[in-house]
Symmetry: C2
Subunit: 369 residues, 2 copies
C-alpha cells in the first residue's frame, strides 16, 4: 500500500542481499526502515516486535533462514537458525510453518544450492501472502460494494475494525483491511471507524497510520464507542482479522473483538472476519473452551508510550503504584455472532459447513481422522 504517495511493503529484498523492514515500534510517529543482514537480526526484529502480525512474522523468519544460508549453508547452521527463529515468538503459527517449510526445502539440497534456493523460497512465501490478501480483498470488497449500491451511492460506506489486520501485519494489503483497500481502489468511498485497541493500541497507532498514508478516510475511537455508534446506525459493517479460527468458525482475535461482535448482533450490523486459510485450526471446534488465551505483561496495561510535544517519545504510567493489572491478549468470538468469513477462496458462513464448502479437501481428511 502507499506511504506518502509511494507503494511500500513491510518487508523486501534489498539489491545487495540484505532484507529491508519497517521498524513498526516507531510508528505512527516515525517511519524508519532497518536492514537485516543476519539471522540474528531477523530474530531480534521478530522478538522485539519491529515486525508483528502472523503473516509478516512468517515471511521475516523465511528471510532469516535465507540470511543464515548465505553465511553458512551447513546442516548445523540450518538447525541453529531454525531453533533461533522458532524461539522468538513461540505461539505464532506462521512462524513455525515458515521455518519448517524452509527446512523441508533446504535439507535435501546440496549445500552449494541452499542459499539461492532459500532466498527464492523466502521471496515466494512473501508473494504468496500478498496473493492471499489480494484475493481476500477482492472477495470482501463485494460486501462493501453491496452497501454502497444499497444506499444508492449517496454516502460513504461505514466500516468498523478492531486492532490492526492491515498491510503492516502482512507483507502487503492486510487481511481485514484488504477489502477496504480494494473498495478504495475501485472508487467506492469508505470511512473506517478505527478502534484504538487497548492495550498496545494497534488501531490508534498502526491502523490509523496506514489508512492515513494510503488516503482512506477514518476516525479513531476508543474501544468503548463502537456499541454506541452501532445503536445509532453509524456502522454498516464490521470487519476484523483473526489469529486462529476453529473448524466450527469460532474466531480468536485481539481482546475486545467479542464485545464488538455482541454489539453488531444486537443492532443487526453484519460482522465479518477475514482470514487466510492457514489460520484455520481444523483440529478444534469450541474456541471458548479450547483456545488458550495468552496473558501478557501487565505493564502493557499500566503504562503507555506516546509522542511528547517536543517530538520525543515517553512512556507514562496510568495506574497507581500498588494496583494490580491483568493483560489478556485475545478473546474468542463464537461463530453464532459472526455473520460470515472472508477467505482467499471466497465468502462463507462461520460454520463447519461453511468452511468445508470452500475447503472441500478438508472434508475427506476430517472424515479420515
Amino acid at each position: 500500500m502507499k506511504v506518502a504517495g509511494k507503494p511500500m511493503r513491510t518487508i523486501w529484498a534489498e539489491p545487495d542481499g540484505a532484507v529491508g523492514i519497517i521498524d513498526q515500534t516507531l510508528l505512527p510517529h516515525q517511519l524508519a526502515t532497518v536492514r537485516l543482514e543476519t539471522p540474528e537480526a531477523a530474530a531480534h526484529a521478530i522478538r522485539a516486535m519491529l515486525v508483528r502480525g502472523a503473516p509478516l512474522i512468517g515471511a521475516t523468519a523465511a528471510y532469516g533462514m535465507a540470511l543464515a544460508m548465505r553465511r553458512d549453508a551447513s546442516d548445523t547452521a540450518l538447525d541453529a537458525a531454525s531453533a533461533l527463529l522458532l524461539a522468538t515468538r513461540p505461539t505464532a503459527v506462521n512462524l513455525r510453518w515458515a521455518i519448517e517449510e524452509m527446512g523441508t526445502l533446504l535439507r535435501p539440497l546440496p549445500q552449494g544450492e541452499r542459499a539461492a534456493a532459500a532466498w527464492r523460497r523466502a521471496g515466494e512465501i512473501a508473494e504468496e501472502d500478498v496473493a492471499l490478501n489480494r484475493a481476500m480483498g477482492r472477495h470482501g470488497r463485494k460486501l462493501i460494494e453491496a452497501v454502497w449500491l444499497r444506499e444508492a451511492k449517496r454516502r460513504p460506506v461505514e466500516v468498523l475494525t478492531h486492532c490492526n489486520a492491515g498491510w503492516l501485519a502482512t507483507v502487503d494489503w492486510g487481511t481485514a483491511l484488504a477489502p477496504i483497500y480494494a473498495a478504495h481502489e475501485a472508487g467506492i468511498p469508505v470511512h473506517v471507524w478505527v478502534d484504538e485497541t487497548r492495550p498496545r493500541n494497534q488501531g490508534a497507532s498502526l491502523t490509523a497510520w496506514e489508512l492515513l498514508q494510503h488516503g482512506v478516510p477514518h476516525t479513531v475511537i476508543v474501544d468503548n464507542a463502537g456499541g454506541h455508534l452501532m445503536q445509532h446506525g453509524r456502522v454498516d459493517l464490521c470487519i476484523t482479522g483473526t489469529d486462529r479460527t476453529t473448524a466450527a468458525g469460532d474466531v480468536a482475535n485481539k481482546i475486545g473483538t467479542y464485545l464488538k461482535a455482541l454489539a453488531a448482533k444486537d443492532n443487526g450490523v453484519p460482522f465479518h472476519v477475514a482470514l487466510p486459510s492457514p489460520t484455520i485450526d481444523w483440529s478444534i471446534e469450541d474456541g471458548v473452551r479450547d483456545i488458550p488465551i495468552e496473558e501478557r505483561d501487565p505493564g502493557e496495561v499500566t503504562e503507555i508510550a506516546g509522542r511528547l510535544p517536543d517530538g520525543g517519545t515517553a512512556r507514562v504510567r496510568l495506574v497507581p503504584e500498588g494496583s494490580a493489572a491483568a493483560n489478556y491478549a485475545f478473546d474468542v468470538t463464537p461463530a453464532r455472532l459472526v455473520t460470515g468469513l472472508i477467505t482467499e477462496r471466497g465468502l462463507c458462513a462461520a460454520s463447519r459447513e461453511g468452511l468445508l464448502s470452500l475447503f472441500p479437501e478438508r472434508r475427506a481428511r476430517l472424515a479420515g481422522e
Copy 2:
C-alpha cells in the same frame, strides 16, 4: 472512605470557613487538597474538573453559593453566583438542582441570615448525598452477600465495574462502589475488576486509587477484557453507576457500559446499576432515542497524561497527526440488559413498574401529567 488509613471525604468545611476539596486532576499519582474561599474558586474547581461526578459537583456548587453569601449576601450577589456556577458544566443535573435549592432557600431570607443558612444547607446537601449512598450500599451489599453465601464463602466475590462511580464522584461512599465498600466493611471478601475506562481513564486512575487506598483488592483491566472474563466465569456480577436513568429503566452512563451489559447478558452475569433517585429522569422512556450524547474534545482520545519515570507528569500523543478522532462521552444501556437497579430505597427491576414500586409517589404524578 479511607486514604492512607484515615477517613476522608471529597469535600469538607474547614474550621475557618473555607471549603476543602481534593484536586482530582492530580490523582492517582498525587494527593493534593485545595482550599476554596470564593464562589469563583468553587466555579473553577467544577469547570477544571478538580471535582467531578454529579453528586460532588452539586455539593461543590452549594458550598460555592455559601462562599458567595459570606462575601456579599445581596440579591445581586446571589444572582451572580447562581449564574457563575450554573455555567460551569451546563449538563449536570445535580448542579442545577443544588443551585436552585440554595436560591429557593436564601431568597426569602433577610440578608443578615443568608450566610449562615447557606453554610448550613450546603452541609446538609453534602450529608444527604452521603446518606443516599450509604443506603445504596446497604441495599446493594445484599447482592454481593448472596454470591458469597451461594459459593459457600470459599472465594472472594468478583465484581466488575466501569468508570468511577466511587466516593470520589460523590461526597463519600459512591454509588456503584457503595455496595462494595459496604460488603468490605461487613467482612465479605470482594475482588473488583476495574475497567480502565477510556477515554479519561477514570477507572485506571480514580477507581483503582480509591480501592487501593481503602484496601479493597482489585485488578485493572482494559475495557476490552470484561467479555473474556465473563465467558470464563470470572465475574459474579457487574455494578456500574449512571448519569441519567429513564422512567423505563434505560441507563445512560460512561461510554462502553452498553458493551459490558451485552457481555453480561450473553453469559448470564447479573448486571446492576446503582443510582440515587435524583438521577432518574421521569420525563423520558426511550434512552437510546431521547438521551442526547455529549461529544467531547477529541484530544481526550488522541492524547493521554500519565506519570513519567522521574515522577513528573506528561501528556503524550497516541494517534498519528492527521488522523481524525471522535469522542462520545456516554452510551445508553437499554433496560432489557439491566438485571436490576440499586436505589436508596432498595433494589428493583429496571422497568417502569420496578421504579414505580419504589417511588409510588411518582405514579400519581405521572398519571396526572
